[in-house]
Amino acid sequence: MIDNKDCKCEEVKCEENRNECKDNKREEMIEKIKCLNFAVIELGLYLDTHPDDQRALCLHREYTKNLKNLKDMYQKVYGPLSIYFPCNKWRWLEEPWPWERGNF
């Protein structure tokens, strides 16, 4: 274990009690994340060839905002979905990988 007492970064707590969020809540959240994630991918491709479609653009704004909020909530409790989520503990190794049914 290598200590770093000089670290000037703010501590980021992301180990909220898992029991506070019962597991069906977790399933519900990840399901919603996957739906929004897919909708954003699909809208992205559509907007690449229809950049002036204001209705699609509006949906893209709505879905990306909801996705970000939901991912922030999920990651705070269940661990990071990417290495860009800060935490005072390296939790990237905790959750099984997607091919092992992690974040399923």
Binding site: L81, S82, Y84, P98, W99, R101, F104
Partner: protein, 199 residues
């Protein structure tokens, strides 16, 4: 650059291993119309595109294909994970097991390792986008054959159907990008020269 998201694009949970199906499905991992070929084809061709729309669509579909590569690898992994050598051999994967165990290796169903000769990068936007349209149709056809072969397992069928659908959407978007490139190339070009004295 890319960022890894620790979640599949579409959920996969295969409850009963079945190496026989893995032997066929591996083709969409490293076969001629598979996801590795698709991603490398689009991500390589994008450098030669003339307009913003075609660069974007190749970039973004190429990226989605990487997510599909992970999905196909996941299917193969879950179909073979924990299966003993005897069963693997009986189900027709003895030769594969000899070289790769139950690892996921990019090869075609017939056993040939992934080959860059299965993709083309012509440096010509019309030729490249036409190839992409054909590639999406070939991938769609391959998924339909796999769906026929996997009809008895709903856990495998479900993600295969999703992947097939995506090929149809990608075909549509490539068609739109191609039309944009054709319009751009067909535009009349005007050149002004101050010596022309055209008042």
């Amino acid at each position: 650059m890319w960022t890894y998201n620790k979640v599949l694009e579409y959920p996969i949970n295969i409850k009963t291993p079945n190496p026989r199906l893995a032997k066929f499905i591996i083709s969409q991992y490293g076969g001629p119309d598979g996801e590795l070929a698709a991603s490398l084809r689009y991500l390589s061709q994008r450098f030669g595109m003339p307009d913003q729309k075609s660069k974007a669509i190749l970039n973004d579909i190429g990226t989605e294909e990487l997510a599909h590569l992970e999905m196909v690898g996941t299917i193969v992994h879950q179909l073979t994970d924990g299966v003993d050598a005897g069963t693997i051999e009986r189900e027709g994967l003895g030769a594969y097991y000899t070289d790769h165990g139950t690892g996921v290796y990019p090869q075609a169903a017939g056993g040939w390792p992934w080959n860059a000769a299965t993709i083309a990068v012509k440096g010509d936007p019309i030729a490249d986008l036409q190839e992409d349209l054909a590639a999406e149709q070939k991938a769609r056809a391959t998924y339909e054959k796999l769906i026929d072969l996997c009809a008895d397992d709903p856990d495998v069928l479900d993600p295969l159907r999703f992947l097939r659908e995506r090929e149809v959407v990608h075909f549509q978007r490539f068609g739109e990008a191609l039309r944009g490139v054709q319009d751009k190339l067909a535009e009349k070009k005007f050149y002004m020269n101050k010596n022309m004295k055209c008042e």
